[in-house]
Symmetry: C2
Subunit: 310 residues, 2 copies
């Protein structure tokens, strides 16, 4: 792993029902991002399908694939061809009836570095994820680690040593949890990537569009500030209908924040590719000048492991 | 403790060397805030003196007072007279050579509810707090609790059951630590109060004034969002000179955020009193609609107790 600056890229696209067209469009977007200099490229959550969790439907488990599998293998070939790292968030079929919301990290030589499995699973109207996804699990000290589970760090939250730098991957709902960001940063992540699928309910949009997008951006900028790391969130765009519902309008607004919480690249609600530089020296500079990690009270944080103390 | 809405007030003032004048000015500001309807009123960090930590000087330990002591007793009388809760942040002399950066909470009947002692102590150019303050300590399960340490909750971080609601108090540098906000919220705080003394170094102001104030506001709004609590930060204003240094320009910008991170009251860089309503039903509403507390992975947060895992 180098400590030299490198460029990261985020892909923000609308997704339709034709899987081949969707994967091809993302391959083209990865080529475009690489042409703009991006070396670590992150796709959006569950990138190869419409956001299918809007209803509970057992047929939709058919959308899942093994990881590694056909789509991640395509991405491995593309990563090797372009010499870039690709973060591939997909619906993972791990075994019969065992499904996760996952992200594979493919290194610049095409090697599969490992998989992160979403730890915090939402369940809200039109986001029925607890129906589809088993939360990522934690291997306690002394437990055996599955052979397909590689890479450094304790399980649950994890980091990946890519050709260009050590990165962390978290997925969507994870972004609301300071604990996830903190633990991943403590493992040495230089960037926290958040592939995402978040949108507005059409009936709520007039009142809540701005506050929701702002809360989403603010809490993630807070993770950058608290930990002195870059944060990069890739969200999808476009209205996705769903019979029997009003559908979801995914709000895009993908962004990259520097380690002091300053937005250095930001999209709107149209398809977009964002590219920005990650400089490990900037992380060191930020943490020296506002040395929050120095003063953490790890002797006093035990109560955080409680559900509630009230 | 009631679950009815109540009003909170923040006092943002400049501070001079004349202690009697400073305490009197704050008493008047508390009367003004109460006249505007405030029922829980928070003063700024180390409210009764200039920010003395700009240099290390053993004489300055003379600025400390016992808590309870003469100044908190004045505040107890005022609280009882006005029927308001007052948060009184001061330099506490706990014993010979034992000093803390503390905040007393006085209930609306004048009773002393207890003291919070700042847990995270900074130490940076012009903020030499590790010289002056012993960090607040944690009493582990089974350890005896000092007789003067009252109120519910585990020690270190704590909450106070006032006449109007359960509140948490944290102090300044604590605001950069999501763990402190989380633990205090888990103990049932409806509001996190952050008495503060943060300012700009004059030489850095042109480049850093806006990013620093924005980072300060953003991370605290993030605590509101992550926890579904109100956040209220009271900062001082005014330029305070210090021989041998360029001094500090305290930047004010005290604010109150609702449980979704929306600013509902905000000051500039002039002296100000802010008043806003806290509605416990709004906390419930926010947490139901974005139910982050439901999905915390307390089985997976153990690594947060590490200093570093890289």
């Amino acid at each position: 792993m180098s400590s030299k600056p490198y460029k990261i890229g985020l892909v923000q696209l609308a997704v339709g029902a034709d899987k081949e067209a969707t994967v091809s469009a993302h391959e083209q977007a990865i080529r475009d991002a690489a042409a703009q200099g991006a070396q670590v490229i992150c796709l959006q959550e569950l990138f190869d399908a419409p956001y299918f969790c809007k209803v509970t439907d057992a047929e939709r488990f058919n959308l899942a694939e093994p990881m590694p599998g056909p789509t991640t293998e395509r991405m491995q070939r593309l990563a090797k061809e372009l010499g870039v790292v690709i973060i591939v968030p997909m619906f993972e079929k791990r075994g019969p009836g065992v499904y996760h919301n996952s992200a594979a990290v493919v290194d610049a030589d095409g090697a599969m570095l490992g998989i992160y499995r979403k730890m915090h699973i939402p369940d809200d109207p039109l986001y029925y994820e607890k129906y589809y996804f088993i939360p990522g699990e934690v291997y306690q000290h002394g437990e055996s680690r599955p052979a397909d589970d590689v890479g450094p760090g304790p399980r649950g939250f994890r980091v990946f040593d890519t050709k260009f730098g050590r990165i962390g991957v978290l997925i969507c709902w994870d972004q609301w949890y300071p604990e996830a960001a903190r633990i991943t940063a403590l493992m040495g992540a230089q960037v926290l990537f958040y592939p995402t699928a978040i949108g507005w309910h059409p009936a709520e949009k007039e009142e809540w569009a701005v506050p929701q997008a702002d809360a989403w951006r603010t809490i993630q900028r807070g993770h950058a500030i608290a930990n002195g790391v870059y944060v990069a969130a890739a969200n999808r765009v476009g209205f996705e209908p769903e019979p029997g519902t009003d559908g979801i309008e995914f709000f895009g607004h993908s962004f990259i924040s520097d380690p002091f919480g300053r937005i250095i690249a930001e999209a709107g609600t149209d398809p977009a590719i964002l590219v920005a530089e990650v400089d490990p020296d900037r992380i060191e500079y930020t943490r020296r000048n506002w040395p929050f990690l120095r003063d953490r009270r790890i002797d006093a944080y035990g109560p955080i492991l409680n559900r509630y103390i009230g």
